[in-house]
Symmetry: C2
Subunit: 165 residues, 2 copies
């Protein structure tokens, strides 16, 4: 099983104002006022019923413009190399992106979003509701991120805007 490949077919596409990877916020936490849309193929629209009640959703998508996989990378937020699985960097063995975005409203097969940190034209693979019961974990240890303490520097690096978001 481990060696057999897995095939997915995109369920839609993500639209955003981000066209240059190097200017795209690295996470939704740094993407305030970055509106965008998830345009779902009409055949799947019924699968969105009930999603309107959630304020936040996970988008899982294919990082179609990621570079070749690297096993050690420097995270955007600091300068010490880490194993790629200890980061959210795009250059992963399987280039799957995960973002928790704000769901502003649903309009048929289109989700209007905020805090979008995703390049325009990115193929969308799945949507899941974010729920406090399953996903808000208290008291975590956060590895190398616990060592970050210059909030201004973090905002500048994370938002990729001079002076931060």
């Amino acid at each position: 099983m481990k060696d057999s490949s897995v095939n997915y077919r995109p369920i839609g596409v993500i639209r955003s104002g981000h066209t240059a990877a190097e200017k795209t916020p690295i996470q939704p936490a740094f993407a305030e006022d970055c509106a965008g849309r998830a345009e779902i193929s009409p055949e799947y629209a019924e699968g969105l019923d009930g999603l309107e009640g959630f304020s936040h959703v996970y988008l899982l998508y294919h990082l179609h413009r990621a570079g070749p996989p690297q096993l050690r990378v420097k995270p955007f937020l600091q300068d010490e190399a880490q194993g790629v699985f200890a980061t959210r960097a795009p250059c992963r063995p399987n280039a799957i992106g995960l973002s928790i975005v704000e769901l502003v409203r649903r309009d048929g097969n289109v989700l209007h979003l905020d805090r979008v940190d995703i390049l325009d034209g990115t193929p969308l693979l799945d949507i899941k509701p974010y729920t406090a019961r399953f996903d808000r974990i208290e008291g975590t240890r956060n590895g190398w991120q616990d060592g970050l303490n210059d909030e201004e520097e973090i905002q500048t690096r994370g938002s990729r805007r001079p002076g931060g978001s």
Copy 2:
């Protein structure tokens, strides 16, 4: 882009005590004391460096025993049908599973885990660190889940053990 399929190759396999889907907890929140392992192919072991510092990690995996996709499903926790994207049900157009598990320790290319809600033998696609900064969202609206109020019933349904976890 939307119509071109995406190919991933598993980076390893998930080992757990869960061999029957109908007895497997539906989420890590209901899988206390369910130990398991993520066995990563040795070629990717270096990519795990630094992960030890995180108490929780996302596992993204292929739900290899999911049934055919359905657009409307009854969530495990209640009896009213929802769009599949408003649930975490396995029968999705792209059968990608997402679990936030506890990382107990790393031993080379093996991650020892707790709160594993995943079937033994499941192909692993990606690992990402869970971080308070990116992933702990406060004050969310949680759709149909906000209407659940019988905690004993929720535990019984979620853990799939008589009497709850």
